[in-house]
C-alpha cells in the first residue's frame, strides 16, 4: 500500500499478475479449509508457510500456526521435538520479516512462541536477528520494541542497553529511536537511583555535551533537538510543588458590599500552585475565623477538564450572618500544608453596606457598556484590593542549592546557543531552543526587561522565519508578553482601572483589566490576576480562553472582536460562577464546521455529561438539541444577565429564541432589553 509507483517501472505481464493472485487465493482458501477443519498435518502447515511467505499480513495464517504448534506439541515431552518445532516457527517469522520487516503479525508470532517458555530462548539468535534488522533500518520501531522485550527476558541491565543506544547514536546521530530509548533508560536509572547514576547533575551535564555534538554536526536534523528539549525539561522543572499565589492574598483587606436586601454570604478562596497537585482538602487546608464554619468547605480543582489534579484550586467560604454584623472586621487565618511545607495566610474581611438599589445591576436602566471603561478612573495609586504577583512559596535550602546548578547549566547553554546563532542565523531550532532556555532561566531568576525584549524579538524572528508554524510562535509570544505586562505593579497598573457603575460584584471597588488590542492568541499567568473582576480582552486574536477558569471573582468578560469559533472553547467560564456580563460579539462562532474543542468540554461525546434530561426537556418545547447542543450546555451552567452575540454567523433569529429560553436570568441581549 505504501511506496508503489503509479506507473509501474516495468510492464508486468497481466497474465503473470493474474496467475499470482490466483495462486494467493488458492493458498488462502486451502489455509482456511485446514483451519476450519482443524487439520494440522505437515502438508497443511506447509501451505500456511507458503502463504505467509508471500503475504505475512494474513493474520489468520499466524493464528492457524499457533493452533498447529499447540496441537502438535500436545503431550510431547521430548526436548528435541519441541526445539525443532520452535525453530520451525522462528524460521517462518524470519522469512516473513525479510519480506516485510514491519509485519505486526510476524513480530508477535515470534514473541508468542518465546513467551510459551517451553525451552530456554536462544538469545544469541535473537540478538543476531535484531542486529541484522536494525542495521538495515535503525528506525524500525518493531525491532526496538522486540529488543526491549528480549532484553527484559534475558534480564539485561538497563546500563548495558544504555551502551547499545550509545553505539547506535555514534553510528548515526540521526536516530530518533535510539535517543528515545536512551531518554527512557536514563529516566529509569535516575529515578530508581541505580548505582552509578546517583549524581543526577553530572549525568545530565554529560548528556548535554553528547547532544550538543549531534546538534552542531547537523542542526537541521530533528532527533537531537527533541532530546535537548527533554534535557531542558529535566533542568528547569522544580522538584517540589509549592503555592505561588492566592486570593485573598496574605495581608490584604477585602471589602464586601452588602446590598441592602441581602448580605454577602460567601466568598471564594483560590490557590495557584506551580504545578498540578492533588490532595487539597479539609485535612491539608485549615481555615480559622470567628464567623466561618470550616467543616463545610469543599475544595475543588479549578481545571477545565475531568482531572483530580490541578494547578488551581478553589472553594467557597460561607459567612454566618448571625455571628457577624456590619461593624466588625472579620479576620481569617489559613494554613496550607502540602508537599512538605506549610504556608500561612492572613487577611481581613470588611463588610459594608452600599447604596445600591438591587443586586446584579438590575436596578440600572442601562446595560453594562464596555466603552464606558475608557471613562473609568485610571488607578493613580494602588488600591487595597489590588494585589499582584508575589512569591508565597516556602523556600528551603535544598531548593536553593538545586537552583544554582540549574541556573549555571542554563546560562552555559544560553551562551553556547548565542554563539551557535551567529553561524546558524536561519536555523529555527537554534532560535527556538534559545528562547526556551531564556524562559527557563527567567522562571527561576526573573530577567526583567532585557529578558522580555530579547525573547519577544526571537519569537518575532521565528514568526517570519518559519511561516508554516507561525501560529505556534504567536502563542508562545503571547505568553511572554503577558508575563511582561503582569510582571510588576508598575507595568500592570497601566492596564487597570476602577469601574463602579453598574456594579455586578460584591467586592468593592470593582477592578478592571484592559488587555485589549495586544495581538494576544492565548492567555497565561492568570495566577497574577486572581483579583480581577472585569476583564476586557477585546480586539485580540484569541481562539482559546484556557486559564480563565481560575478567575473566581469575574463578573464581566469582553471577548468581542476575537477568533472564538465555538461555544465549547468557552468551557473555562463555566467555572466563574459570578459571571454576569459576557460580550462575544464579532467572533467566528458558526462559521467553522470543525470544532477543535469538541472533546475538551463536558459533553456526552466524552462521557463527561449525561444530556438525557436536557434533551428531553428541550424536546418537550420542540427544540432539537442536536444543532445547538454546544450553546445549550454552556448557557445552562451560567447565569448571565447580559449577553452580546451579534457579528457571529450563528446568531440568527432561531438561535436568539433558543438563547432566551436557556438563559432565564438574561436581561440584555445584543444591547436590547428583554423584560
Amino acid at each position: 500500500m505504501h511506496g508503489r509507483p503509479r506507473k509501474a517501472t516495468k510492464q508486468e505481464d497481466p497474465a503473470a499478475a493474474a496467475a499470482k493472485s490466483a495462486r494467493l487465493r488458492e493458498l488462502q482458501s486451502q489455509l482456511l479449509h485446514f483451519h476450519h477443519n482443524r487439520i494440522y498435518t505437515k502438508e497443511a502447515v506447509s501451505v500456511s508457510s507458503k502463504l505467509l511467505e508471500i503475504n505475512p499480513e494474513i493474520y489468520t495464517g499466524w493464528n492457524y500456526r499457533k493452533l498447529a504448534f499447540q496441537h502438535n506439541l500436545k503431550e510431547v515431552s521430548d526436548t528435541d521435538t519441541i526445539k525443532s518445532a520452535i525453530e520451525d516457527e522462528l524460521r517462518m517469522v524470519e522469512v516473513a520479516l525479510r519480506r516485510n520487516p514491519k509485519s505486526y503479525g510476524a513480530w508477535y508470532h515470534r514473541k508468542w512462541v518465546l513467551g510459551q517458555k517451553l525451552v530456554p530462548a536462544n538469545f544469541d539468535n535473537e540478538f543476531r536477528l535484531l542486529d541484522m534488522l536494525l542495521k538495515a533500518d535503525a528506525r524500525n520501531f518493531h525491532g526496538w520494541s522486540y529488543r526491549r522485550y528480549i532484553a527484559r527476558l534475558k534480564d539485561v541491565s538497563e546500563e548495558e542497553e544504555l551502551k547499545f543506544t550509545m553505539d547506535m547514536i555514534n553510528t548515526n546521530f540521526s536516530n530518533y529511536s535510539a535517543w528515545h530509548n536512551r531518554s527512557m533508560l536514563l529516566s529509569n536509572l535516575l529515578r530508581n537511583k541505580v548505582k552509578g547514576f546517583l549524581e543526577r547533575e553530572n549525568i545530565l551535564s554529560d548528556e548535554f555535551e553528547l547532544v550538543r555534538q549531534a546538534l552542531f554536526t547537523d542542526p537541521s536534523d530533528q532527533s537531537g533537538w527533541f532530546y535537548h528539549l527533554w534535557l531542558l525539561d529535566q533542568t528547569s522543572t522544580p522538584h517540589k510543588p509549592h503555592l505561588v499565589s492566592s486570593w485573598p492574598s496574605d495581608g490584604c483587606n477585602i471589602n464586601i458590599s452588602s446590598i441592602f436586601r441581602e448580605k454577602c454570604e460567601r466568598f471564594p478562596i483560590v490557590f495557584c500552585f506551580n504545578q498540578q497537585v492533588d490532595g487539597v482538602n479539609l485535612a491539608t487546608v485549615t481555615v480559622n475565623s470567628k464567623a466561618i464554619s470550616s467543616e463545610h468547605i469543599t475544595w475543588k480543582p479549578l481545571s477545565a477538564n475531568n482531572s483530580r489534579k490541578s494547578k488551581v484550586w478553589g472553594a467557597f467560604v460561607e459567612i454566618f450572618n448571625e455571628d457577624f454584623d456590619n461593624s466588625q472586621d472579620l479576620s481569617v487565618e489559613i494554613s496550607v500544608n502540602l508537599c512538605g511545607s506549610i504556608v500561612h495566610l492572613k487577611f481581613v474581611v470588611k463588610l459594608s453596606c452600599m447604596d445600591h438599589q438591587e443586586k446584579d445591576g438590575g436596578g440600572s436602566e442601562e446595560p453594562f457598556l464596555w466603552d464606558c471603561l475608557e471613562k473609568c478612573q485610571k488607578l493613580g495609586e494602588i488600591p487595597p484590593n489590588f494585589v499582584s504577583y508575589d512569591w508565597l512559596g516556602v523556600r528551603d535550602e535544598s531548593v536553593g542549592e538545586d537552583a544554582k546548578w540549574h541556573l549555571d547549566t542554563l546560562s552555559a547553554e544560553i551562551a553556547l546557543f548565542k554563539e551557535m546563532l551567529e553561524c546558524e542565523e536561519d536555523s529555527k531550532f537554534v532560535k527556538l531552543t534559545l528562547a526556551r532556555l531564556l524562559s527557563a532561566h527567567n522562571s527561576i531568576k526573573p530577567g526583567g526587561d532585557s529578558y522580555f525584549e530579547e525573547t519577544l524579538k526571537l519569537f518575532d524572528d521565528l514568526i517570519k522565519l518559519d511561516v508554516p508554524h507561525n501560529r505556534y510562535y504567536r502563542d508562545e509570544r503571547s505568553l511572554v508578553l503577558l508575563d511582561q505586562l503582569t510582571s510588576s505593579k508598575d507595568s500592570l497598573v497601566k492596564y487597570c482601572s476602577k469601574c463602579e457603575n453598574p456594579s455586578f460584584s460584591y467586592f468593592n471597588p470593582q477592578l478592571c483589566i484592559h488587555f485589549s488590542g495586544l495581538n494576544l492568541t492565548r492567555i497565561g499567568f492568570v495566577e497574577r490576576l486572581l483579583w480581577v473582576q472585569i476583564l476586557d480582552l477585546s480586539h485580540n486574536n484569541l481562539t482559546s480562553i484556557l486559564g480563565l477558569e481560575a478567575l473566581q471573582l469575574l463578573v464581566g468578560l469582553n471577548l468581542s472582536h476575537n477568533q472564538i469559533t465555538s461555544f465549547t472553547s468557552l468551557e473555562p467560564i463555566k467555572y466563574s460562577k459570578s459571571l454576569k456580563v459576557l460580550d462575544l460579539s464579532f467572533n467566528e462562532i458558526g462559521s467553522h464546521p470543525v470544532d477543535t474543542t469538541r472533546y475538551l468540554c463536558t459533553s456526552p461525546l466524552s462521557h463527561t455529561y449525561d444530556a438525557t434530561e436536557t434533551i428531553n426537556e428541550l424536546a418537550r418545547e420542540n427544540i432539537q438539541i442536536g444543532d445547538f447542543w454546544e450553546a445549550v450546555l454552556l448557557f445552562k451552567s451560567l447565569q448571565l444577565v447580559q449577553l452580546d452575540m451579534q457579528g457571529n454567523p450563528v446568531a440568527n433569529e432561531r438561535f436568539r429564541v433558543l438563547v432566551e429560553k436557556v438563559n432565564p436570568c438574561l436581561r440584555w441581549l445584543d444591547g436590547k432589553s428583554l423584560k
Binding site: R6, Y472, V594, Y599
Partner: protein
Amino acid sequence: MEHLRLSGAYWGLTALDLMHKIGSVKPDDVVTWIMSCQDKDSGGFGGNVGHDPHLLYTLSAVQVLAILDRLDALDVEKVSDYVAGLQNEDGSFSGDIWGEVDTRFSYVAICCLSLLHRLRKINVEKAVDFIVSCKNLDGGFGCIPGGESHSGQIFCSVGALAITGSLHHIDRDLLGWWLCERQCKDGGLNGRPEKLTDVCYSWWVLTSLILIDRVHWIDKDKLSKFILNCQDLEKGGISDRPDNAVDVFHTFFGVAGLSLMEYPGLKTIDPAYALPVDVINRIFFQK
C-alpha cells in the same frame, strides 16, 4: 489485501459519505455481507468471510453499520461482550484471543463500545491508566509502554482519551509541538521525526492536533495542496505520495484530512470516532 476487506469497506464507505455519495450503495447488500464476516461463536468480526475474529474488524463492522444507520442488525450485547472480554488485567486490550497488546486495540475497543453505548462493560479507569503508561517523554505515545512515539499510535491514544473524557493526561503544548513538527517542507505530514511524508498522516496527525486544539500550529493550506497533489487525476483516488499508486486506504485518509480542514463540499468528520459528525450526533444526541 483480502484479509482486511472489512476495513476496506469502512474506508470506502466513509469516504463516499464524506463526499455525499453514500446513496450509490445498496445498504441491505452491505449489511448482509458484513454480517457474514461475523464469527458466530465469539461475536467478533473477521477481516473477510471465514477469517478469524479480531478487534480491528469488529470496529470496522460497527462503524459501517453506524454510517448506514443499521446498528439494529447487531446483537449488541454479544458484540460488546466480545470486545469487553479482550480487556486485560492491566487495562490494556488484546487484539484477539492470541494476546497481542497495542494502544491501537485500546482505541478500537473504546471507540466500538462507545458507539454501542456499552462503555460501562470495561474498566475505563484501568484502560486509561494503560494508555497513559504508554506516554513518552516527548509527549507522544507508542504501541506498548516504552514504545517510540508514532503518529498512528498517538491518534489511537488521543482518540481513546478524548472519548473517555481523559484528555487532561496529555501535555497538549508538548505533544502539540511534536505533532506540528511533522509538517515538512513539501507541506505534507510525516509519522515521526526524519521520516517521509505520507497522506495517511494527514488524518492521524491532523486529527490528533484537532482533538487537543493545536491544529492552528500547522499550515493547513500547504497540507491541503499536498493531499490534492497526491490525487491520480486520470483514474481517480489518492496515493501515499505524489505519483505513487492509489488505494482506498489513502483515498479515505486524504478525504478525511481535507474534511478536517473544511474543504468545501465535504461533510464534516468527527475527529475522535472517524465517522461523519451527523452520524455521531445522531448516536449521542437523539432522544
